[in-house]
């Protein structure tokens, strides 16, 4: 190709042809470089938590991505396209304007289809709850639905004190059997204290601002239809094996579904219920 080597002759055709060829090569290489550069930057900026959620959300089954307003029946059908982050959703405020669900006073417990779901706190779609403890500190824990699905975890890996959490990012890890479950953090903030399963909570988090944005979390009257929906999803996820953990018919809810039906592909069920691909 280089002139003078073994009498290679350049013609206009060469210029056109090689021009096109090298343009293609350059486009491929530069696009690849851009992707590499951007991922490097994102990684440097600690955006991988957000990105991971975005990526996982993309891969969730459609049934797991239903908009909260469809769950409550406010809208016929809507699939969330904001990774469950209603803070950036343009549609969410319009619904809020019509009817905003509110928290119940502290200590108010409610049994929803047999699950203990206190209505004094916010719930994340990944089955965690958030409760404001005052002075900018929030307690974060696994909700009753989540607890009963897993039973007693084999191991819990909590983030160290001082770790910054991202909303929808990794909250903590649960290990059960061979499954490693990522429990999504419902809010953003810095971990100030860690708890245990016995404490009933796992993390105490201090937000950057005294009041952390919680618009994306479920609350109040949204809980019941949501749990209803989750039971349906659970039923669907479990049913291929035909195991009756279905409890919406008024039966007694088991405390440890895993123990009850070990033959179920719990790994898949948990993944689906805890919103990870």
């Amino acid at each position: 190709m280089f002139p003078f080597i073994y009498e290679f002759h350049w013609t206009p055709v060469h210029v056109v042809f090689l021009g096109i060829f090298f343009s293609v090569v350059i486009v491929i290489l530069s696009t690849l470089s851009i992707a590499l550069l951007r991922s490097y930057k994102a990684f440097r900026k600690q955006q991988h938590e957000t990105i991971q959620w975005e990526a996982e959300f993309e891969d969730l089954p459609v049934a797991a991505r239903t908009c909260r307003h469809q769950i409550t029946g406010e809208i016929a059908q809507r699939t969330c396209n904001h990774e469950f982050d209603c803070r950036s959703c343009a549609v969410h405020p319009t619904f809020l304007a019509q009817r905003a669900p509110v928290l119940a006073p502290a200590g108010k417990e409610e049994s929803v289809f047999g699950f203990t779901m206190p209505l004094d706190r916010y719930y994340h779609r990944g089955h965690t709850w958030v409760k404001y403890e005052g002075e900018g500190v929030y307690t974060v824990g696994l909700d009753d639905f989540g607890k009963r699905m897993i039973g007693t975890p084999d191991a819990v890996e909590l983030p160290a004190v001082g770790t910054t959490l991202t909303a929808n990012g990794t909250g903590w890890m649960l290990k059960k059997e061979r499954a490693a479950l990522r429990i999504l953090s419902p809010i953003e903030g810095v971990v100030v204290q860690t708890g245990t399963a016995q404490d009933g909570w796992f993390l105490k988090v201090r937000g950057r601002e005294p009041i952390v944005e919680t618009r994306h979390l479920l609350r109040g009257e949204e809980i019941k239809p949501w749990i209803m929906r989750e039971l349906e999803r659970l039923q669907a996820a479990v049913s291929p094996e035909g195991v009756g953990v279905s409890l919406a018919d008024g039966g007694e809810l088991v405390q440890d579904m895993w123990k009850q039906a070990p033959q179920v592909d719990w790994d898949g069920v948990w993944g689906e219920m805890f919103l990870q691909a």
Binding site: M1, F2, P3, F4, I5, Y6
Partner: protein, 716 residues
């Protein structure tokens, strides 16, 4: 000046960047990619000074002149010598690759003995002295009495000084035989010599002045005598007016080039010749003197009267009008009638050869311009005590010790022809040869003789030549130390048997002797290789001048006047008319028996006889058929429920073998045209050479011919 690390790095980086804009790294890359493919399998080319040597080809008796291009002393290519008076600058395909033959994979590189006669007996390395001492008791025994068989030398190329040496050697033994191999002489001329009752001089064809050649299968354009002679004559037909009538049962290359092709049913050639003779006799087309000078003219006339063209036409498939036309063409022009000696099919039978040769007598061709001349042989010390006999004439079971010369006539013959000459115990066979060939299957001792262009040899008069000639074949290749000069072998054997010296101990000294004889005779002229100048021997100051001229590739040609031919020429010689009774009977057999006719191409009839590069013709194209294939007319194939390319089993009284059939419309129906040799690339067996093949199936008749054998074919 301080150079910082940074500056150094900048400099290095800049250099690399700069170098990328020069062709150097790219060319290096290119070259190294090419280099990766130039592994040791690709030979290094020879380098060195380029020289040219004039020499002569000794692969067959044709003796074409060769100009060799040599690099660093090694010959890299051979071409004919343009302007050469005898070979006209033409080489045949074998000759053009002749310099490769010395490196043939089947080349013998040292003397060997076989441990037994069996097909599985291995080759055991031996030495010349060992062989001589092993043979000594037998040689002494033969010298004292020939009752238990005698010694014979089979010469494949008679007429050389070495031939004289062989004759001298065997004459020391009672009953010692000097035999010439089939194909080493022209069959028509040999027969004619018998009809002429002459032993003086050599017969030759005056083709240059002939107008009509009637050839009974002689391969005139494809390996007959010196190719340059006939090919050029035929190519210049529009100037010299020559007509070629080819009588052959296959449309050979010669038949394709002939003016007239007479597609004859093989085996009926005698009938055709007699019918032509009959037309000539009946219509008085012969010279009047023949009637008086030929003692058997009456007998001949009676004989040919039985061969009316109409009857013969039915037998041989040639229309009577054509027979008549041919007779007229022969009689009204200077003409020559010759027979074909196929390199593998051998001569026609004795009776047929006789009537073919006899046509020349009848036409008065002997001793006439454009006919057949008698000329003086190359000057020779004479005193040759043993007469030459054809191999067929050697009494059966008479040879106890056979010595086969290493030179090749380019022709082959069935081993059974040779085998039956040996004593009942199989005799002892010493074979001089550059290669392991199918013939070495008979040998007890193999003595490696020099390959082509490895030693000083001679080019003596080619068969059928008009004049005697002589030249030297100068070596182009270094002769391996282990090869044995034939003269040295003779000296060793003579020494071992207590004989006095038989003469020169090397071929070179023999050739010096012959040069000396020529110089003494003062005959002929020496031409430079390209014919640019000619010097009469008479004008030469010394013998050394002649030798020097010959050593530079010069060519000696005799200038003696033709000899007088014995006027009392017979037409049938010793052949009795009743031998032709069968010839008039219809030859077409419809019982399903086919005629197996072996066919060969001169010099290409044996495994080792062609250079590996000849694979281009035999293996890598359809130009020449590989040995072992049989060409059969499609109609005959179909009649036997066979198809083109099928493997067929050929059966004769001698056995059977499997061959691949080739549907070939150029072969007459009813004939199996069997190709003998070569398989240029067959190096599979280096011990006992491969089986004889087709020739092993051939029936050898009492007269030594094996041209036609009855055979049947079936799907293999």
């Amino acid at each position: 000046m301080n150079i910082t690390r940074r500056e150094l790095l900048t400099f290095a980086g800049g250099s690399i960047l700069g170098a990328l804009f020069t062709p150097i790294p790219w060319k290096l890359l290119d070259d190294s990619a090419i280099w990766t493919q130039n592994w040791s399998l690709i030979p290094r080319l020879p380098r060195g000074p380029e020289t040219f040597t004039f020499t002569g080809c000794t692969l067959c008796p044709g003796g074409c002149a060769v100009k060799a291009r040599r690099v660093n002393g090694h010959p890299v290519s051979l071409v004919g010598v343009a302007g050469h008076s005898l070979s006209n600058g033409i080489l045949c395909p074998m000759g053009i690759a002749g310099h490769h033959l010395a490196y043939h994979p089947l080349r013998l590189r040292r003397p060997f003995a076989f441990t037994g006669k069996g097909a599985d007996s291995p080759l055991v390395p031996s030495t010349l002295d060992e062989i001589a001492s092993n043979l000594a008791p037998m040689l002494k025994d033969i010298r004292s009495s020939s009752s238990r068989g005698t010694i014979a030398v089979l010469d494949q190329r008679p007429g050389r000084v070495l031939s004289d040496l062989y004759r001298k050697f065997v004459s020391n033994f009672p009953g010692g035989i000097y035999a010439v191999a089939p194909g080493s002489e022209d069959p028509t001329l040999t027969t004619l010599r018998a009809l002429c009752n002459t032993t003086e001089g050599t017969l030759g064809y005056d083709l240059e002045n002939t107008r009509v050649i009637l050839s009974f299968g002689a391969p005139l354009v494809d390996g007959w005598s010196t190719p340059g002679r006939t090919v050029q004559l035929l190519q210049n037909r529009n100037q010299n007016g020559l007509k070629l009538i080819q009588v052959e049962g296959v449309q050979s290359r010669t038949a394709l080039q002939a003016d007239t092709w007479l597609p004859i049913m093989p085996g009926t050639e005698a009938a055709l010749a007699l019918a032509i003779g009959g037309v000539i006799v009946r219509q008085n087309l012969f010279p009047a003197k023949i009637e008086k000078t030929s003692p058997d003219f009456r007998t001949y006339k009676t004989l040919v009267s039985k061969f009316e063209p109409e009857d013969v036409a039915a037998v041989c498939g040639i229309p009577s009008s054509v027979i008549s036309e041919t007779a007229h063409a022969l009689a009204s022009n200077p003409s020559v009638v010759m027979s074909g000696y196929d390199p593998a099919g051998g001569p026609l039978d004795n009776a047929t050869e006789t009537v073919i040769a006899g046509l020349n007598v009848l036409l008065g061709n002997i001793g006439r311009t454009g006919g057949i001349s008698l000329h003086a042989p190359i000057p020779s010390p004479g005193a040759t005590t043993s007469p030459a006999v054809g191999l067929a004439q050697v009494p059966d079971h008479s040879v106890r010790l056979l010595l086969i010369d290493g030179a090749e006539s380019g022709h082959t013959y069935p081993l059974s022809l040779l085998k039956r000459k040996l004593t009942a115990d199989g005799g002892t066979v010493v074979m001089l040869s550059p290669y392991l060939s199918s013939r070495s299957a008979l040998a007890d001792y193999l003595v490696p003789s020099p390959a082509a262009f490895e030693s000083l040899e001679e080019i003596s008069t080619p068969p059928g030549a008009r004049r005697s000639s002589f030249a030297l074949s100068l070596p182009l290749l270094k002769q391996p130390d282990t090869t044995v000069d034939p003269a040295t072998l003779l000296a060793k054997l003579a020494g071992a048997s207590g004989l006095p010296s038989v003469g020169a101990e090397t071929v070179e000294s023999c050739l010096r002797q012959r040069t000396h004889d020529i110089w003494l005779s003062k005959r002929g002229t020496l031409a430079t290789p390209t014919g640019s100048s000619q010097t009469p021997v008479m004008a030469m100051a010394s013998e050394e001048e002649l030798w020097k001229g010959l050593s530079e590739g010069g060519w000696w040609v005799d200038n003696m006047q033709d000899k007088q031919v014995n006027p009392r020429l017979t037409l049938l010689g010793l052949m009795t008319p009743d031998r032709y009774d069968k010839a008039s009977a219809p030859a077409l057999d419809t019982t399903g028996t086919l005629k197996l006719i072996p066919f060969g191409w001169r010099n290409a009839t044996m495994t080792a006889s062609v250079a590996p590069v000849l694979s281009k013709l035999f293996q890598e194209s359809h130009l020449r058929s590989l040995g072992g294939r049989v060409h059969i007319n499609p109609s005959t194939l179909a009649a036997n429920a066979l198809s083109d390319g099928a493997y067929v089993k050929i059966s004769t009284h001698s056995g059977n073998m499997t061959a691949q059939a080739v549907a070939d419309p150029s072969v007459i129906p009813g004939v199996i045209h069997a190709i003998v040799g070569p398989s240029p690339n067959n190096t599979a067996s280096k011990d006992r050479p491969e089986a004889e093949g087709i020739l092993g199936l051939c029936a050898v008749r009492d007269d030594g011919s094996w041209r036609i054998t009855e055979a049947t074919i079936a799907k293999a």
